[in-house]
Amino acid sequence: MILACSEKENLVGEIFSAARDLATQLGCEAALVELDDVKPSIKVNGKIIILKANTRLSSNPELATAAITELAKKSGAQIILFGTTRFGRQVAAQTAVRMRLPALSDTRDLKIEQGKLTGTRMVYGGKFAARISAPLPCIATVQSGSYQNDTDTSSSVETIAVNVPTARTTHLETEHTSKASANLSSAQIIVSVGRGFKTKEDLAMAEELAKIMEGMVGCSRPLASDLGWLSEDQHIGLTGIHVHPNLYVAVGISGQLQHTAGIRNSKIIVAINNDKQAPIFQIADYGIIGDLYQVIPELTKLLTSNNQSSAGKQ
């Protein structure tokens, strides 16, 4: 049995498809584990197990750990997959300790090789990729963007009641900070902003450009974490989201490894920066050396008039 679990709705399809690939290789069953309830948009081609307790399991990674450990022991799970989120990492790590199982972190291209679960992960700030393996049974967190979404109707839904002890931490308050309207890890065009922007208000320029390109806005770490101009789920990089769009436009981003680790799988990378020496130009397909305050409005203007003229032709 292979179990796949993520608290994040938009990762579930991908994780389950990874689980199903592995189940095919091993000739066993894959099941999606949902905490508390099935999230409304979930569509997977396979079995769903709902874990329910007298408290909300998805409210605390420690409770999720207790519930999943119980299920994994009962079902004799060979592989347990989690999403690469901050919640998922904690559950993976703590389940690993409780079950004394090896755990792989942030992996893509998962396969069974010589009886072991093998996957690729980024190391050294994304400069290198490591192929790592662990014998079964084991645990892995799956890097988003590496699998197609699974979209079908589930074959069966089973609810299992679990008993979990009182958590050692108490959650007092949740403040939702997300400003992103959809999932950046599946965006086809991303306009990403960095320290080159002088004020939060100036980001409107990038938002306008993204809108006309039908893309989404992402950012480097300082803009989300230090400055709080954008939300943490727009933060692209080693410690944030890894993206793989057709077009990635880095505006006013210098291109430290911390950031570029998250954009390497982009098809085309464009950099706009006034610093000729900025490392971002080393990993860009196209670069404009210039003042973003002049280049961005110009791009927006040209694209707007292109769109209008092509609309006129139709």
Binding site: Q94, V123, K127, A134, E175, G215, L247, I288, V295
Partner: protein, 254 residues
Amino acid sequence: MNIVVCVKHATDENELQSDESGKPRLNPDARKMSTFDRNAVEAAVRIRDSKGGSITVVSLGDVDCKKTVKEALAMGGDRGVVILSNSHLDALMTSYYLANAIQKIGNPDLILCSEGASDTYVGFLGPMLAEWLNLPFIGYARDIEITEHTVKCEEQLEDRIETVTANLPAVISVVSEINEPRYTTLLQIIQASKKPIEEITLESLKAPDFPYSQVEVVDVRAETVNRKRIIFEGSPEVTAKKLIAALENEGITT
């Protein structure tokens, strides 16, 4: 307040180059304290300075990891403990031995680490330590508030900030936004060399009851950067036009 802070003597990813075959040219001398660990040390120093007590800096690795421990001592740590190991240990094994060493050190009120190492970024250490020690875990803290027997933190998650509280002792991992780590002065470095560093061996710690380090690194290869690197310079009008033409050529329609 007795604080333990865990640090890693990590490969400096900025210096790392690959050889002809694409493998990293690992140089034991091109290592430094894992970038994010500086924030964990800084957090420890600030808490100690306001609440009193002492800071024990703990690291697992070869003998060179004493360099990183010394640096943490220069930042304000009081004493160091180095668990000597020359072999590669996976996260489960590393956390197991660190937890054992921490138990041996005494009963800390607070155990701090970073969200993940800057070279490998596995990110399992904090939650694993908490589990081995049977303590509460608060992850990705961007703020730590200590009262007498409890701790309250703001956890910075992807789409939300959660305010979480737990009784002490607790394990907390911090994000780099929590503080601006201090630079050390020559005087602090000299003073740090007088602070004690205890060396302990893996063998002196309780042997694990599960199989030895099972996560294996099969291969490490340079990520190939195959980019066109076409640069446009000139007036915004000209460069913007050239870029749009280039993207149209690539088949990207906007």
